[in-house]
Symmetry: C2
Subunit: 393 residues, 2 copies
């Protein structure tokens, strides 16, 4: 049974989702947590993001409340008021401050949040809190997800076992309206706060900021980490011997969840890792990988199992990178060299076979520098179009 010391969870159904499935979740820590959050870069922000940005600054978070079924985005002042009314109700029910609670929403855009329905159910939500109810919470935050996304690791540090838990949701911005990527990371290990922020930022960059389902960005995307230090008396700093083990563990967990989001892309049939090497900077490498991962022509070729390197090289050339020498580009699929120095190297049937796999790895070497990056992506097939073009309103 997965547990993180000092954290309790609940997830209930209150009718925000028409399906009747769980749609309200709570994470609660008796002790205040060190907290850090990374938010969407979209300039159109949902109400819980606007409120959450203020709350995270107070650095006194005990709890996260999440509703699915409604994104509370494009809801103006009324939407912000609704989020604040929920936090107020939580505060009244717990004798805590409203800013001890961090809000998060996901679901349909443009409709007002039914905060009265939520508030009516807050006593029940609190009553159901249990250290073992992670699955209920994970279910309550899903929208079009086909499966819940949970990663749990234990590490022995000094005399104690510490727990790391990450729960995510997301499946592209898809039918019937846009969905959102959310990740809640919890640990009972204590951290120096600046280091905690750095670890969460890095792990997010290498995972949730390195995936592209359809190139669209939600108004609600949030990654938040909470550390309550209940697992023992260690405090991890820059000088801790176990630091690299800990950050590798968290990086791995985030990457696992990001991969699951890509694999859960609705209408997707394939998973693809695009590695770019030999760039002049890490940023250039990322821009090239991102351009390919967003290329509709590449994504449809992936769907059709076509090792169409012309589409890959055209995407490389059209990325926003200052320097590309087309005569130095190498491209391989699954370790099989297709293009060398910008020219076709082989037309072997091996590439055809490799493109037919469920998981495809593309390696690009720009041979112009020492930096690398990658993106995780999926194909765009008939079902993606079907899911996203159904009439919704």
């Amino acid at each position: 049974m997965i547990k993180v010391k000092g954290f309790k969870f609940s997830g209930i159904s209150i009718g925000l989702k028409k399906s009747g499935k769980k749609d309200l979740g709570l994470i609660f820590s008796e002790k205040p947590c060190k907290a850090h959050a990374v938010f969407t870069k979209n300039k159109v922000l949902a109400a819980p993001i606007i409120v959450g940005k203020k709350i995270i600054k107070k650095n006194n978070i005990h709890s996260i409340i999440v509703n699915s079924g409604s994104a509370n985005a494009c809801t103006g002042k009324e939407g912000i008021l609704a989020t604040n009314k929920v936090l107020k109700e939580l505060s009244l029910n717990t004798n805590m401050d409203a800013y001890n609670f961090f809000p998060s929403s996901t679901g349909m855009i443009g409709q007002q949040l039914d905060y009265q329905l939520i508030n009516k159910n807050i006593p029940k939500l609190i009553k159901r809190l249990k250290g073992t109810s992670i699955k209920d919470f994970a279910n309550a935050i899903t929208t079009t997800d086909r499966f819940t996304k949970v990663s749990h690791k234990k590490l022995r540090i000094g005399r104690n076992n510490y727990n790391f838990l990450a729960v995510a949701k997301g499946a592209g911005m898809i039918h019937p309206n846009m969905a959102t990527m959310l990740c809640f990371f919890l640990t009972d290990l204590d951290f120096e706060i600046k280091l905690f922020r750095k670890i969460i930022n890095n792990a997010t960059d290498m995972s949730f900021n390195s995936i592209s389902v359809d190139g669209d960005m939600s108004t609600n995307d949030t990654v938040i980490g909470l550390s309550n230090g209940t697992g023992g008396d260690e405090i991890i700093t820059n000088k801790s011997k176990t630091l690299s083990t800990i950050s590798n563990t968290i990086n791995g967990m985030f990457l696992d969840l990001a991969s699951l989001i890509v694999k859960d892309a609705e209408g997707g049939t394939k998973f693809c890792k695009i590695n770019v090497h030999g760039a002049k900077s890490k940023k250039s490498a990322k821009l090239v990988a991102r351009k390919i991962s967003n290329s509709l022509l590449f994504k449809t070729a992936l769907f059709g199992s076509d090792p169409n390197w012309g589409r890959i090289i055209a995407a490389i050339g059209s990325s926003d990178v200052a320097y590309i020498n087309q005569n130095k580009i190498d491209i391989s699929i699954g370790g099989h060299l297709l293009v060398k120095g910008g020219l076709e190297y082989s037309k072997s049937k091996i590439a055809d076979k490799l493109m037919k796999k469920k998981e495809v790895e593309i390696n690009i070497n720009l041979n112009s520098g020492k930096h690398s990056s990658y993106m995780l992506t999926n194909d765009i097939g008939i079902n993606y179009v079907k899911f996203n073009s159904y009439y919704t309103t």
Copy 2:
């Protein structure tokens, strides 16, 4: 019968296209032309682009040779040699210089150009030149186009009638490999060269640089204008009274052809104009329009006739524009207001009806400045995916 004084055309079939359709075209002017070209911004450049960039600088062009069936892209030194061999053969057959000929190619990427096949047919290509053979030329430059794209206008200036002709090809970067956007503009009116460059650049910005079929950019895109001054003795300068009529005419022609390219997008069922008003700069307005026109979620909603403004506003927020005030955004479809001040304004069935039309106009007002721009785009439907995912090699 369309004619431009002093220009002759031909288009023949030589076997570069497996279908046996016309695949080699020539435009020829007895008099040298003032010339200006705009090339793809892709950093992976096809051989004819690399060679053409040098030739345009010599400013002594009489002729344009275009082949379809092979893009001569990603073909390295051998590809450049092939293009030069074709120009050399033209020079030998006409007693002119190789740099009097401007090369252009479109079709499959990554395969070497069969220049020997082309050269064998050059005498025939020249022999067929006629002032009335524009249609043959227009056919010879098509790839996956469903129809040829020709625009012709006449203007009376002073004592003479002058002709303006533009022939384009393009239908998105589509099956079986990427295609290309090409436009050849010819006139028998004379221009001061700096002004001619400016006119071609402006008309290109407002047309071919304002369309997005699938967000991908070809390695071969070219717009070239030739003016041979054979129609009379007028020379258009900055001070000419007819200047605005002339540039409006050319702008209109380019926009017509750009619209035809979008309407010819394979798998496309709808044509959409996205107008962005009230931006802080023209560039910002264009960036917002471009982001929406490239949003896969918007394009699939367009396919499904879903007036899903949440996807539009999320695309606006994720565009690379420094300043967006979400509380000022208005969105209307076909003149019907859907969103006002970032909030849903109406859910009327009128929007549903308007989204079902074959041509949809979206107006966005950011209400933050005085600048406007637009993009022309198409939907992405089931057939787009089918066309682009078929296995090709």
